[in-house]
């Protein structure tokens, strides 16, 4: 099983996670810029974070045979802090970079006017840089937030096939399916979505325009939820080809629209055996 996790916050994860992900078949991932749990209070704190997303984290990932890409944005929560908002003026420098495959995470947290402004402005940046968009949907008042999100997408002029609306559930998926946007699902240990509910949604809505991610971060989450969803799909009668479409081909197709996916040096044969791999095994004691 080859896996492309289209949404995971590796900055918050350990090298053990990288190794376990590789062993489970993860060969590529996208790390969206989001908030870090601890609020930031300056623009410089953002740019140092972005620098890690385009510099240090890809370097770390490469040591474990995983190709790292990222998305860049001011997230909705911190769009409400006037100390952070000026980072919007610096985003064009980062949106011009290799391996920056979308604008994101943008969207709503509490649906404030400040969030409206940052969301719309970043949709325009996506148009200017010809990049897809990763949209976060709120944890609270999710249905209303999703409706309002889709209205902003329609007004922006960004084509729906360039947009993934993430963290969907049984209540919000229908709206997004009808909009023409991609449907994103974050498989979590307790919240958002689990493997079996995901399988049921795949039965109902099919495997097209669907991205399944672990969204693993600094909270209780599991970077192997993509692989576990693949296993649940197989157990439920989906074929290897279905799993490959959802867990590999769909993320490649969606983020490939940026023209900035670099997968040429990825060992991603669908049936590859991972046992013989020697990356960082045995060679180093430190």
């Amino acid at each position: 099983m080859r896996i492309f996790d289209p949404h995971i916050h590796m900055t918050s994860r350990t090298t053990d996670d990288y190794q376990a992900m590789y062993d489970a078949g993860v060969r590529a991932l996208v790390e969206p810029a989001f908030w870090l749990g601890q609020p930031r209070t300056t623009v410089g704190s953002f740019t140092d974070y972005f620098d890690a997303l385009v510099g240090w984290e890809p370097f770390r990932a490469a040591q474990f045979g995983i190709s790292h890409h990222c998305t860049i944005a001011l997230n909705p929560k911190e769009a409400n802090d006037p100390r952070c908002v000026p980072v919007l003026d610096l985003l064009p420098r980062y949106l011009a970079k290799d391996r920056v495959v979308a604008v994101g995470e943008v969207g709503y947290d509490s649906m404030t006017p400040e969030e409206d402004t940052a969301f719309s402005r970043q949709m325009q940046l996506a148009l200017e840089h010809e990049l897809p968009v990763l949209v976060h949907t709120p944890h609270r008042d999710k249905l209303a937030g999703t409706e309002r999100t889709l209205a902003v997408v329609r007004e922006s002029g960004v084509p729906p096939e360039h947009v993934v609306v993430d963290h969907l559930n049984e209540v919000t998926v229908g709206l997004v399916a009808d909009s023409g946007c991609w449907m994103g699902f974050s498989i979590y240990p307790d919240t958002k979505m689990d493997e079996d509910r995901m399988v049921a949604l795949l039965r109902e809505y099919g495997t097209s325009r669907v991205l399944v991610n672990s969204a693993a971060d600094w909270g209780k989450s599991d970077p192997l939820k993509t692989a576990k969803t693949g296993a649940a799909m197989l157990a439920a009668g989906f074929t290897d080809a279905d799993v490959d479409k959802v867990l590999w081909q769909n993320p490649v197709d969606f983020y490939g629209q940026s023209g900035r996916l670099e997968l040429s040096d990825v060992d991603s044969e669908p049936t590859a055996s991972f046992e013989g791999n020697s990356i960082l095994r045995g060679a180093r004691k430190d």
């Binding site: 620098d51 510099g55 011009a96």
Partner: protein
């Protein structure tokens, strides 16, 4: 080395489209230095990122995008040079930072590039540490900075064959530091990197 060597090396490494893009971009940067802010990050996508095929010894280990970026840097006007280079490095991804470090020796920046070299030597990214000890770093770092750079390379497994100035700048203090590092490794029962033997005679028979 001169930028003409870089230009010469690039001749066999660029497609017709890439050559055209580079010529246009050099003109654009010469006319308006701020243009480099979007052109510099786009180089890999426009011109490729493969290894640079070249007979120039000093360009060994460079990639095509390194060489193209260095030519863009050399198109900056004297007035814009320091501020644009500082910002390109500040906001650069690892490939852009590496190219800035390589380009420092090709532009009239004097000692103003030294803070960038020191920044790169503080990182844990082998690509940046290696590039920091290129021609410019070897010429401008003080004795202590150069020694610690070399020691860090050995520590991180960066081959000393790829760094500049070793023959001219190696001194008894650097040898002492490397010997001490090797003894620490031996005490821990860990292997001593073969490159230590380049400067410490009693380790010169280590196999690479």
């Amino acid at each position: 080395m001169t930028t003409s060597a870089v230009r010469h090396a690039l001749r066999d490494n660029l497609s017709e489209d890439a050559e055209h893009w580079l010529a246009e971009s050099i003109d654009a940067v010469a006319a308006d230095p701020a243009k480099i802010r979007t052109l510099f990050p786009a180089v890999g996508r426009k011109c490729g990122r493969g290894p640079l095929t070249t007979e120039h010894e000093e360009l060994r280990g460079w990639s095509v995008d390194d060489a193209v970026r260095v030519l863009l840097l050399s198109a900056l006007s004297a007035r814009a040079l320091v501020s644009e280079i500082n910002e390109l490095y500040r906001y650069g991804d690892a490939a852009e930072k590496r190219a800035v470090l390589r380009g420092l020796a090709e532009v009239p920046i004097g000692s103003d590039g030294l803070p960038l070299v020191r920044d790169a030597l503080r990182t844990n990214d082998t690509r940046l540490v290696a590039a920091a000890l290129g021609t410019y770093g070897a010429e401008h770092l003080d004795a202590s900075g150069y020694r610690h750079g070399v020691l860090k390379c050995v520590f991180m497994g960066i081959p000393l064959a790829g760094i500049s100035g070793l023959a001219a700048r190696a001194d008894p203090e650097l040898t002492r530091m490397l010997r001490s590092f090797a003894e620490e490794r031996l005490a821990a029962g860990r292997p001593v990197p073969a490159d230590v033997g380049l400067l410490v005679p009693e380790f010169s028979d280590l196999e690479a």
